[in-house]
Amino acid sequence: MAQTVFAPWDDPQAKPLIQFKNVTKRFGDFTAIENLTQDIYEREFFSLLGPSGCGKTTLMRMLAGFENVTEGQILIAGQDMAHVPPNKRAVNMMFQSYALFPHLSVWENIAFGLKREGKPKDEIAARVEEMLRLTRLVKFAKRKPHQISGGQRQRVALARSLAKAPKLLLLDEPLGALDKKLRQDTQFELMDIQEKTGTTFVIVTHDQEEAMTVSSRVAVMDEGRIIQVATPAQIYEAPNSVYVADFIGDVNIINGVATKAEDGYLITWAEGQAPFMAKTPNLFADGQTCHLAIRPEKVAISAERPADAVNAVEGQIIDIAYLGNISTYHVKLVNGQMIKAQAANTRRLSRRTFTWEDRVWLSWTDTAAVMLER
């Protein structure tokens, strides 16, 4: 894939499509969104990730115009949205509850927005057919929402929000009810649509794999704040906190105390054990507590201590999770800490090198682990 990198957020000249400026949203005395500032650029596929109740839907609803901002400002294409009603925004939203009109057929649901624009009949029909084909609903066009399955309803909701080809499309957990195969297909479909139409997507998802696949950037949220915004690779490789590291993918966290060494830090993590070595661009004071975050696939497992390993530690295999192409070994260190290590299953199961109760060595390089303050 030889193409110029899409990274308008690194370009100081680029104009953001959406600007949150110190946005706070309160429901009574409950703060759902707290002093949030964030830019989202045109053609982005921006994912919101976070636990239930962290304010993802609220953020979407403010963009769509269903919730007023308590403090701060939201700008879309440079225009303050404060007094613009939902029907005057070039924004469409796919609702988490789908919100399909029960009295209208699938076809009429998809046509609803187009009819409001007063487009000619045949143009509407052509567009609806296109959407039906895209979401594979052609056979169900005449059915009412209560006559189709949950997954099909979700696709109707998606088709309806796509039909008007909005500048900004908000998708609140759009693919949750689809089975894996259809979900992947739809993900690629979404990316394809985005390529073709240049629509900007803001998408809420629970599925981090989905977020990693489709996003230009991922925002990890917690309690009304964005904890980190970065590309999927950055979020995965360089989380800025234990919270983010833990939220995205599998991770081992080792707590310890940092001491400055010549080109990195030594982390003392258990009494009588050799400290771990880690490199980081961040600065730590001597004696500061820190957390080492290491992805299981970056931990090597071997029978003998590898001669050239910077970090190596002995432990005992407690459990093995066989996942087909890879296996995850749960290894207990001397201080009782559990470390997960992943290894590719290049050999047949019966000839596997390690088994339960085996004593093994775990090792990783000095750049494999991320040193985190919090």
Partner: protein, 296 residues
């Protein structure tokens, strides 16, 4: 066996409380008036056996129904009843829908109270409530006194003993039957549907027409039938509030029975009324059925 009983009970109920009385009325409507107790003939003579029964059947005829078609009073009363019932139903809908809508919009904690207020009038006698409208609508009534006092009018309005008073009475009496089904339809409605409509380019008003109204359609239809059906045969309201020119079939029926003591003609009037009512009742049932299917 258990299933048989479960099915049989409602049918027995229907036979005992609807079919048997209907057959009796039908039989009377086919009889002739007579100066006896009861005031019609023939009477079935059980002792005469099969021959007596055949003789009895032979004496039944459709004379009374023919009579109804000949005297224009009757069909005019039917048409006028239909007209009054129809107009009252529309008026009740116009008054009831906004009330039901406001109730459905009200905060959750208010709704039980509002519902109670709608049902509250049922706790006093219907007759007393209609009588009290006489006190309100008469020439010296509260309404005229109030309007004279505010200076809106200089001479009292004649409302009592006109069709206007009948409309007021019917709308007032049957309003809860309109409000409750509409309210229940509106209350079920998912608020995000309106947001979706707005999101797709509707103004508030067009979202109301395109989403709220269609989704409360079943409630509107149910409410209209619940008002229309009893209003068609209404007797108390036109007799108490209506004037001499208020023509309603319920009143005609009453007069045939009690003033003229012509039971056969009165029964014929009742049978025709029932036949007219069968149409809206069947439509009402169909609407309920469809709604149940939608809800599943």
């Amino acid at each position: 066996m258990r299933r048989f009983i479960l099915i049989a009970v409602p049918y027995l109920w229907l036979v005992a409380l609807f079919l048997v009385p209907f057959l009796i009325v039908l039989k009377i409507s086919l009889s002739d008036i007579a100066l006896s107790i009861p005031p019609y003939t023939p009477q079935l003579d059980w002792t005469a056996g099969w021959a007596g029964f055949k003789d009895f059947l032979g004496q039944l005829d459709f004379e009374n129904f023919t009579f109804l078609t000949q005297d224009p009073l009757y069909w005019r009363a039917y048409v006028s009843s239909l007209q009054i019932a129809l107009i009252s139903t529309v008026l009740t809908l116009l008054v009831g829908y906004p009330i039901a809508y406001a109730m459905a919009q009200a905060p959750d904690e208010w709704r039980p109270t509002l519902l109670l207020l709608v049902i509250l009038p049922f706790w006093t006698s219907f007759l007393i409530r209609v009588y009290s409208w006489i006190g309100i609508l008469s020439n010296e009534g509260f309404l005229n006194q109030f309007l004279l006092w505010t200076g809106v009018i200089s001479t009292p309005l004649t409302i009592l003993n006109t069709n206007t008073a009948v409309y007021i009475g019917i709308v007032y009496t049957y309003l809860p039957f309109m409000i409750l089904p509409i309210y229940s339809a509106l209350e079920k409605m998912d608020g995000s549907l309106l947001e979706a409509a707005e999101d797709l380019g509707c103004s508030r008003l067009s979202a109301f027409w395109l989403v709220t109204i269609p989704l409360s359609k079943a409630g509107i239809i149910a409410g209209c039938f619940l008002v229309f059906i009893p209003a068609l045969g209404e007797f108390v309201i036109p007799s108490l509030l209506g004037g001499s020119d208020t023509l309603m079939i319920g009143k005609v029926l009453w007069e045939e029975f009690f003033s003229n003591r012509d039971w056969p003609v009165a029964s014929a009037v009742a049978v025709i009324l029932l036949l007219i009512l069968v149409v809206p009742i069947v439509l009402f049932q169909r609407n309920e059925q469809k709604q149940r299917e939608m809800d599943q």
